[in-house]
Symmetry: C2
Subunit: 143 residues, 2 copies
DNA sequence: TTTAGACCTGTGTCCAAGACACAGGTCAAG
DNA sequence: CTTGACCTGTGTCTTGGACACAGGTCTAAA
């Protein structure tokens, strides 16, 4: 399989395949014409990488996992450790997005009503300047 | 006010102040010693930028808003348009994170039970390879 | 007065995960 | 044989700062 066949058969782009190849996570065979061909083993490795990415592992995580496995060791303990870390990070980002989304929605609602105002020397936009965060009980209590 | 005073008084870092200054969003006064001093007008502009960032505007959005306001025009219509776009993006990311988070939690749960396995030529990690996405009714229906 | 150390300066590089560009080589069909 | 679709390597761009580095400046103590 060549690069674009591989990419398209998994719904990704050639840039993604080339990126992993650059990082030596994929090791295609160079043919006489200079083209890269991906044998079945590399195809399944690509599938593995995509699965791992979908589960929130970073590319660097995946490199570590592959490295571990290449020594014949079971990567499972590492995989379990990593996903806990990534999940914790995701959870944090998720909570942050929850707050952000609420603020944005509140702002949009507040702003639909207010009329336009020209800027002044001290004020770029009265909408943004006057936006009131919905007072967050939890936020003000903890810490 | 000098850079570190400005930064710390709003709970940010000098790098952030310097970044906005590099982009000419802040225009400090250069004193004889080469130091930058931020007059009250720039302080309130910094406050404005931070508020806007907190509402999900990109730095580039904020540049556009400032640009608009600097011509004396009311930036309000632009601001309303932009926040709708950003909110839509945020909503999309939010939904994606929701799915990701669920997959990660499911994976973690599945993997707690399974035992370790050494890799084979075709399998880097059986945990990841064998992970089953909880079948997503909606996902398979739409499109 | 000197000196230490805390602050400041500009400039440059780095991060993640690719996306995009570009100049040129290769292949299959007409 | 030419056209056009595909391939190659290499390099730069993106976001929003964070961090580094070499050197200038300020303040207080010795």
């Amino acid at each position: 399989m060549k690069v674009s066949e591989l990419a398209h058969s998994f719904g990704t782009t050639v840039d993604t395949v080339r990126y992993y190849t650059r990082l030596k996570m994929l090791n295609p065979i160079k043919s006489d014409n200079g083209y890269k061909y991906y044998p079945p083993s590399e195809i399944s490795r690509f599938k593995f990488i995509l699965s791992a990415r979908q589960l929130g592992f970073s590319v660097s995580d995946i490199q570590d996992i592959i490295e571990e496995a290449s020594h014949g060791k079971a990567a499972c303990p590492l995989v379990r450790t990593l996903i806990k870390e990534r999940l914790a990070e995701t959870e944090k980002q998720f909570q942050a997005m929850l707050v952000l989304r609420k603020n944005m929605k509140d702002a949009l609602a507040q702003w639909e009503i207010k009329e336009d105002k020209a800027p002044t020397s001290t004020m770029v936009c009265h909408l943004i300047d006057s936006f009131e965060l919905a007072t967050d009980e939890r936020g003000s209590r903890d810490k």
